[in-house]
């Protein structure tokens, strides 16, 4: 302060001095926006939703969440493949737990944890809500905006559908969770959510997929995002699945079956996808399908080095490659490798017992080690293994000659699936011929003879299950198919009546999940069986 100022203050009268103090105080007090320190390091719900590209990135993140939920500890195979015990008799000592009916799998306990699927579902709901609230003029077109919302709705629907198939009853999150206030109440109690009836869960998934169908457009092979992101046909395929599952759980609910058939038909008619002709396209056709985004794909999880979205092929137990591949693909026989056991249900009952499969090329295409000449047998000493995750490319940054990246997409829905769903729907309605037409369509592409069995529910159920089990081996469908078709032939599948009554085919909920949520109770069958 200069002398001048001081003197002037001193010379002024008291009132002025007090005024001055007041002014100094209030001048400093006036800047209450000093407290608005916006974070510069963070993207927050408040500052993020400002452009189309941000919305697109959020959507990509949601697919990534779904990818993570399905691939963490190879959950999609543990849920969807191994419990069915069709082709692969795992030698992994922990996967054996599943095959013996115990889903508390050491070192893969996260398969009991549904958090991952809630992440993808919740983020989808957030995207749907936030993008809908963004002004239309932020988007290149209204179609683009609808696409983002529609795809998010698809992910939400698929996430819940997975949960409904794995756990049955699960909590339903109907609101966007953005603050801790939604999770902890004022008294310091976490706000629990109880498991809701599986039909409410399926309704919720169905509602989301209908929204998705309404907002999305059809696409065609070769278009950007084909198969690795949802289009209208992907959503219809999902709808066909959900409604058929619903019908199966709900006394063959005819309305649901009809919806399923309609959705499947729409896919077949409008998707622009086509079946792979295994006979004529051979290995190339199979490889294309496995690499993904092929003409037959409807929805897949992208695994590709082109976009730096791959992983190193290993024999580790928690990966699709480790759980399906073996030597000579790896330098040695993998301890985790599955046996394609000739006595197992698939080799014995699907392939060997069906003379119509004498020329079925899928056993050669899909597996390494199925003896091509000696029909129905595998090479000694049982070194056959599944090839669906064998697409690879070299890791250029490694000096290890066996360092490969995976190029195999994880196939969720493809056209053959939809044909067989429609066949199943028609079977459920007693339209045997329509069902057989679709079955034969799929069989014909593989060189298998047309179905000649009885036109009965029992016979066709086995036919459809077997056809799906072979066609989708390693794609995580069989275990769900068994539940949906209620197909547990004896003597291979003596699943106790008690277990079925207590929903024993559903998975246990991780104890930590139950501990953190006071409203949850364990799946009936698993009560007292999950202490880790």
């Amino acid at each position: 302060m200069s002398n001048f100022k001081i003197n002037s203050i001193m010379k002024s009268n008291t009132k002025i001095k007090i005024l001055t103090i007041g002014l100094v105080l209030f001048a400093t007090m006036g800047c209450s926006d000093l407290l608005d320190q916006e974070p510069m390091n963070l993207a927050t719900p408040q500052n993020y939703w400002t452009s189309e590209s941000n919305a697109v990135s959020a959507l990509a993140g949601d697919y990534a969440l779904l990818k993570r939920a399905l691939t963490d500890q190879a959950a999609f195979l543990l849920w969807g493949e191994f419990p069915a015990r069709t082709f692969m008799n795992s030698q992994n000592s922990f996967i054996n737990y599943i095959e013996s009916g115990n889903y508390v799998v050491p070192y893969s306990e996260r398969t009991m944890d549904w958090t991952g699927l809630f992440k993808s579902a919740n983020w989808a709901l957030t995207i749907e809500t936030k993008v809908a609230a963004m002004p239309d003029n932020l988007f290149t077109s209204i179609d683009e905006k609808n696409r983002i919302i529609g795809e998010a709705a698809f992910i939400r629907s698929l996430s819940y559908f997975y949960m409904a198939r794995v756990w049955g009853d699960v909590p339903i999150v109907r609101e966007v969770i953005e603050t801790a206030d939604q999770l902890v109440d004022d008294n310091g109690y976490t706000i629990g959510k109880k498991r809701e009836d599986e039909f409410l869960v399926l309704d919720y998934a169905l509602e989301a997929v209908n929204k998705s169908i309404a907002l999305l457009n059809y696409s065609s092979p070769g278009s950007p995002r084909w198969a690795i992101q949802a289009n209208k046909a992907s959503a219809e395929a999902l709808k066909a699945h959900i409604t058929l599952w619903y019908a199966s759980r709900n006394n063959n609910n005819a309305d649901m079956v009809n919806q399923s058939i309609a959705a499947a038909s729409s896919v077949i008619n409008n998707s622009n996808a086509s079946l792979i002709d295994y006979v004529n396209e051979g290995v190339a056709g199979f490889d294309n399908m496995c690499k993904g985004a092929s003409k037959t794909g409807l929805f897949e999880i992208n695994i590709s080095t082109d976009t730096n979205e791959s992983y190193r092929i290993t024999s580790a137990g928690g990966t699709p490659t480790g759980l399906t591949l073996s030597g000579p693909f790896f330098s040695t026989l993998s301890g985790n490798r599955p046996l394609i056991d000739p006595a197992y249900y698939g080799p014995a009952k699907i392939i060997k017992a069906d003379p119509g499969r004498a020329n079925d090329v899928r056993r050669i295409l899909f597996f390494d080690g199925y003896n091509p000449t000696l029909a129905y047998t595998v090479n000694p000493p049982n070194t056959a293994y599944l090839l669906k995750y064998s697409q690879k490319s070299k890791d250029a940054t490694s000096i290890d000659p066996l360092a490969y990246f995976s190029e195999s997409n994880i196939l969720i829905f493809r056209l053959a699936d939809v044909y067989l769903l429609r066949a199943e729907g028609n079977m459920r309605l007693g339209n045997w011929d329509n069902a057989i037409t679709d079955i034969n369509m799929v069989r014909s592409k593989a060189g298998a003879a047309n179905y000649t069995g009885a036109k009965t529910l029992v016979a066709l159920t086995k036919c459809i299950f077997d056809e799906r089990a072979l066609e989708f081996v390693g794609e995580g469908q069989s275990a769900f198919d068994r539940i949906r078709l209620n197909y547990y032939p004896s003597p291979e599948f003596p699943l106790e009546v008690a277990r079925q009554a207590a929903n024993g085919y559903f998975w246990p909920v991780h104890p930590n999940v139950i501990t953190a949520d006071s409203a949850l109770i364990q799946t009936e069958w698993w009560v007292g069986k999950t202490t880790t």
Binding site: M1, N3, M10, K11, S12, T14, K17, I18, L25, T28, M29, L34, L35, Q37, P39, M40, N41, L42, A43, T44, P45, Q46, Y48, A58, L59, D62, Y63, A64, L65, L66, K67, T71, K119, N122, T126, P171, V173, I177, E178, T179, A180, V184, G188, Y189, T190, I228, N302, T305, T307, N308, S310, T314, A316, S398, A403, F405, T515, A516, D517, L520
Partner: protein, 1177 residues
């Protein structure tokens, strides 16, 4: 002109108006002039004058008419004056007077309602010249000096029983009017008040002695200084006297000794390493055990407030906060322990406030230089004795022969390092400890100068410290500059400007301080290579490069950790009207921390090099604007503070690291690396705080007092709806010793007694700046599998963005607040020779931020919320006893003792017990029990005979364990709490509720002895009644039971001091430990030495002497005069000379973390012997 004539003139001119005696009046004028204590009221009165060549006297008359001022002058003075020409309209009186006296040979001065004329001659000379002739008035001239003969300026001199009082000037001189039988009272804070009978003397020399009575001390309570006597709060004070001959880097290490109720736990003996200061019990529930899991106070250094929450991320080298301050510059430390004083610091005062005032310039007749020099030597501390070479091999082979079946002795399980004694790789006798330790030398230099007048003075201090740690390549270097200038402009304005610069260089040995991202702290302790449980076997061959690297000083290894801090601060004070002052303080603090690190290829497994650089800057702007008001109306004293504060922090942070192949000569991140080998980050964050604060104090006759303090704070860290909070407090005091029933009866025993009581609410902020926001993570690709160098961050080629599911925002996250009661008493007995302070308190902390797991449906894992409550209550007492003020001897003993109980009052989910630390938990919280209980098995006994084991009556099966189904003799047997005849985690691993994490009492005991120029000082502190966990020994022995050959490849300590189970009966006889049975591949192991068993709980009792020093002060005599110095002091001190502890199993019972675990990492608080010289000239 002489004095008598003035008096005469006065008598003539003003007699009619004066009511009191003439002598009195003129004296008052003199005194006022002499001390510049001039009131300012009424100067704003307006006058209108018109004079043309009129006499000065006429002007005076007119002014007297228009105002209530009257003139005081001598006739002679008027004789020499000129006539006046003047025309003013409604002008300020002062302006007019300036005009009137502009060309006159005389000047004027205003005193109350009087305008006094004086010569333009220097006034002091005038008074001195005239002193002898003032016979009618009895004017006494005095000079006040301290014990060392330095003038004491600003001392108060008053005549007993009158209103007359003056202050001494810069030279210690004063003039006062008094009669022969009057008594003068001379008082100055920090000095003993003296009463002197005037008698016949006209010139008095008065020596003031420094007060031994702490009640006279001035304490700083936040925007105000008060006498300790007048404070109703619980305050502990430390003066520079108590610190000056202890050559510590940071004063925090002395706080335990010099106060009560303050704990300073330390985890490392490294120079300058972080100490925590915990006042009245821990309230931190973070579960962290790296030194951040303790609650820390607010530091206020010369008005600049810093909480450690502001520095999180910055202080990543574990450097002590107070190490940025040179102890030589500290004038006083006041620790506000209760809520009443701290309430004015509102949102940051919950864990107490430490106010540090640094030394200032002063009015001196000539500049004063002070030079201190300090050289120290730290010998290698006693180390864990390690067996080296053949001794190690022999001891390990003995274990094998004793415990192993021959199939193992001859099998491949035999560790190669032991069996292959001829292999040069395994046939060495490398003494690792020799590599790591050295004798440390330290040097400290400090030069300060101060000088100037009462109106403008300065102090400049320069410091250099270089302390070598006893572990190789560790140490601390510091350069400090502290300067301040003080100016008084006019009569009403004071200004003080301060600059502080600190540069520190911390040597961290071999540790890599680089942190990718700024959130976590670099844990120095974990990188010390000396942990006895982690030393390699002496048998291994070690290359020279490896040795050098282990020492941390390999020439090609770069490791620097530097921190620079600059502080600028300006404080101004303006007297507005009587008793009302306006104060402003503006501060700017700039911190930079830089770390450079390079690890050369020869030391890295991949054969590549690793370089990193990180820089962290913090800018802090803060301002305080406040008014102070004092008013005394008869017996009513009112004081008030009201003000406004803003505080803004800006953090900019960046780091870059790279690894790749290339020449080791390049130690930085540059084109040596490809783009994809370089990673980095940058970050910008900010936070701000606003506060309106006030304090209102009232006392009646200084006997009954009540104080209210209040702060309303807003913080940017909190959501808009909960951003502001109020922090009120009230305190009352009663000086009962002033009551007549005490005064008249026992005042010869009890000189002083005061009861105090206070209640208040304080807050605490958390360190995260943006915790209330939910955040999205960028570059999420959803890959869970190994992908080598491929960084998966997209889906379908589009960068993925997802919520950060590890944290969720909470818009109404808010203050952690503490409610505190305090009841206290201050007592002084026997002419103030015995001072006792006692306080009891109850401190309830609520809304502590706590991590709570979220339900899975949310997708979020866990988050922080204001959920937990903790209560601390206890008492503390400090006693100072001046035992021996006899002749040349002066002995003072002081001691403090305090007891704090701590327990959890609230936990989330309806007080569900909390287990933290991952897995089955390592620590836990339970409502009703203290914080940080360990999760443990109870070691019931060491098994002697299998027949001792209980048998399951239903199955006939004897007790078994999860790990080894047959329990063998020599095993520690854990209590089977759940009675399932199986020892396992599920039912038997429990919170150890008997564990005592907090001591029964802590305290200090200090001795100060003086004899003539000699002094002797010894400080110590102690802690009794807590339990600690011998983690270091457990980790060490645990290696033997974990299979493999790790045990053989690590060093072996000499275990002859411990007893192990060897044969049946040993368990009953009470050996220390179970059998030491090396386990190798193929053997099942029960893990005898697992850490989580109460076998390791030992007593945490210790008594530590923190400092002993002896010195001699020379302040007179031929030497001093010949060298032209004012004073010289020579001293020697020993830091940490001695420690007693109850447990002989842990290395240092005082070095534990917040969970009571001893690290024993080989960095002890070592003994340092120093010689110091302190010269003033």
């Amino acid at each position: 002109m002489n004095f008598n004539s003035i008096l005469r003139a006065l008598a003539i001119v003003r007699r009619s108006k004066f009511e009191r005696s003439l002598k009195m009046r003129i004296t008052t004028v003199l005194l006022i002039v002499a001390t510049m204590q001039v009131g300012a009221s009424g100067l704003a009165q307006k006058v209108s004058l018109k004079f043309k060549n009129d006499k000065l006297l006429t002007v005076f008359r007119e002014i007297e008419k228009q105002t209530n001022y009257s003139f005081v002058y001598g006739k002679e003075q008027l004789a020499q004056t000129k006539n006046v020409n003047l025309s003013v309209q409604n002008e300020n009186l002062e302006t007019v007077l300036d005009l009137v006296f502009k060309d006159q040979p005389i000047a004027y001065i205003i005193s109350g309602n009087h305008i006094v004329l004086k010569g333009k001659k220097k006034y002091q000379d005038f008074v001195s010249e005239n002193l002898n002739v003032i016979s009618p008035v009895n004017i006494i001239k005095g000079k006040i000096e301290d014990e060392k003969g330095n003038p004491v300026s600003g001392a108060n001199v008053s005549v007993k029983g009158s209103n007359v009082s003056v202050q001494s000037d810069a030279n210690g001189d004063f003039f006062i009017e008094a009669n022969d039988n009057d008594v003068l009272i001379i008082s100055f804070t920090g000095y003993t008040t003296r009463e002197i009978k005037v008698g016949s003397q006209k010139e008095i020399k008065i020596n003031l002695k420094q007060a031994q009575n702490q009640l006279d001390d001035i304490v700083v309570i936040g925007y105000q200084k008060v006498h300790k006597k007048e404070a109703n709060a619980a305050i502990a004070s430390i003066s520079s006297k108590e610190l000056e001959s202890i050559p510590v880097i940071s004063v925090s290490s002395l706080l335990s000794s010099l106060t009560s109720g303050v704990q300073v736990p330390s985890q490392s003996g490294a120079p300058g390493s972080r100490n925590n200061v915990v006042i009245r019990g821990n309230t931190n529930v973070s579960g962290a055990s790296d030194g951040t899991g303790l609650s820390s106070p607010l530091y206020v250094i010369d008005g600049i407030q810093t909480s450690l929450e502001d520095l999180v991320g910055f202080n990543s080298s574990n450097t002590d906060f107070l190490a940025s301050l040179n102890p030589n510059d500290i004038e006083s430390i006041d620790i506000l322990k209760d809520a009443s004083a701290a309430a004015i610091y509102g949102s940051r005062g919950a864990n107490g406030v430490i106010i540090i005032t640094t030394k200032k310039g002063g009015a001196l007749s000539s500049p004063e230089f002070n030079f201190t020099l300090n050289s120290g030597f730290t010998p290698i501390p006693p180390l864990v004795p390690m067996l080296v070479g053949a001794a190690e091999r022999r001891a390990k082979m003995d274990m094998i022969y004793k415990h192993w079946q021959s199939k193992y002795q001859q099998g491949p399980e035999m560790p190669m390092i032991l069996s292959d004694s001829l292999n040069p790789a395994f046939n060495n006798n490398m003494d690792y400890q020799k590599l790591f330790y050295r004798n440390g030398f330290s040097n400290k230099y400090n030069l300060s100068m101060r000088g100037g007048s009462e109106f403008s003075n300065y102090r400049i201090s320069l410091g250099y410290d270089n302390v070598e740690g006893v572990v190789q390549n560790t140490g601390f270097k510091r350069y400090t500059l502290a300067a301040n200038t003080n100016a008084k402009v006019g009569k009403r304005f004071e200004n003080q400007f301060r600059v502080g610069l600190t540069l520190t260089e911390n040597k961290t040995g071999q540790g890599n301080p680089y942190i990718y991202g700024s959130s976590s702290n670099f844990d120095f302790n974990s990188t010390v290579p000396t942990d006895p449980s982690n030393l390699n076997s002496s048998l291994f061959y070690v290359s020279e490069a490896k040795i050098a690297s282990l020492r941390g000083n390999l020439s090609s290894k770069l490791n620097t950790d530097k921190a620079n801090q600059a502080t600028f601060s300006n404080y101004s004070k303006l007297d507005i009207i009587n008793g009302l002052t306006l104060n402003t303080q503006f501060n700017f603090v700039y911190n930079v921390q830089k770390k450079n690190y390079y690890e050369p290829s020869i030391l890295r497994d991949n054969g590549d090099g690793f370089a990193s650089y990180s820089i962290y800057t913090r800018k802090n702007f803060s301002s305080d604007v406040y008014v102070n008001y004092y008013k005394k109306i008869k017996e009513h004293n009112i004081s008030a503070v009201f003000g406004f504060k803003t505080d803004y922090n800006n953090y900019e942070d960046m780091g870059v690291a790279a690894s790749g192949f290339g020449p080791d000569a390049v130690k930085v991140v540059n084109d040596r690396y490809r783009m994809d080998q370089i990673g980095g980050y940058s970050s910008i964050e900010s936070n701000s705080l606003m506060s309106i604060f006030g304090r209102l104090g009232y006392n009646y006759n200084k006997k009954y007092s009540i104080d209210f303090a209040f702060s309303r704070d807003g913080s940017s860290r909190f959501g808009e709806d909960v951003r502001f909070a109020n922090f009120p407090s009230v305190s009352v005091g009663w000086i009962f010793s002033d009551e007549s029933f005490i005064k008249n009866n026992i005042s010869h025993i009890l000189n002083y007694g005061k009861f105090r009581a206070s209640y208040g609410v304080n807050g605490k902020q958390f360190s995260e700046n943006a915790l209330r926001y939910s955040a999205y993570s960028m570059g999420f690709g959803g890959n869970v599998y190994s992908s080598n160098n491929m960084n998966v961050g997209s889906y379908g080629g589009v960068t993925g963005v997802v919520p950060n599911y590890n944290t969720i925002g909470k818009p109404n996250l808010s203050w952690e607040n503490t409610e505190q009661w305090n009841l206290g008493a201050d007592l002084a007995f026997f002419k103030n020779r015995l001072n006792v302070t006692f306080d009891a308190y109850n401190k309830k902390t609520d809304n502590l931020l706590f991590t709570i797991p979220y339900p899975a449906y949310s997708g979020y894992s866990s988050g922080k919320d204001n959920l937990v409550g903790v209560m601390n209550y206890g008492w503390e007492s400090m006693v100072k006893w001046r035992v021996l003020p006899i002749g040349n001897w002066d002995l003072e003993l002081s001691g403090g003792i305090s007891q704090n109980k701590n327990y959890v009052t609230k936990l989330p989910n309806g007080n569900r017990d909390f287990y933290g630390g991952g897995g089955s938990g390592t620590y836990g919280y339970v409502v009703g029990l203290p914080l940080n209980l360990p999760v443990m098995y109870h070691t019931a006994y060491i098994l002697d005979y299998v027949s001792q084991l209980p048998v399951n009556p239903f199955t006939g099966q004897v007790l078994k364990s999860k790990w080894d189904s047959t329990l063998d003799p020599g095993y520690p047997i854990f209590t089977d709490y759940n009675g399932d005849y199986n020892i396992d985690e599920a039912g038997d691993l429990k919170l150890n509720t008997k564990f005592k994490p907090t001591p029964d009492f802590i305290g200090s005991f200090n001795i100060n002895l003086k004899y003539k120029g000699w002094y002797f000082q010894a400080y110590s502190y102690f802690s009794f009644g807590s339990d600690i966990i011998n983690t270091s020994t457990s980790r060490y022995m645990n290696k033997y039971t974990r299979g493999g050959s790790d045990w053989a490849e690590k060093g072996l300590a000499d275990l002859s001091g411990y007893t192990f189970w060897e044969k049946p009966g040993d368990g009953a006889a009470g050996v220390d430990y179970p059998s030491l049975y090396p386990i190798t591949t193929g053997m099942t192991s029960y893990y005898n030495f697992r850490e989580n068993q109460d076998l390791w709980v030992v007593s945490g009792d210790y008594w530590k002497v923190s400092n002993v020093s002896i010195g001699y002060t020379l302040d007179k005599g031929p030497i001093v005069e010949q060298l032209h110095i004012a004073r010289a002091r020579l001293y020697s001190s020993i830091l940490n000379p001695y420690q007693w502890q109850r447990s002989n199993k842990v290395t240092d019972a005082s070095q534990v973390n917040e969970q009571g675990r001893t690290l024993g990492n080989g960095y002890p608080q070592s003994k340092t012997i120093t010689l110091g010289l302190d010269v003033k000239f």
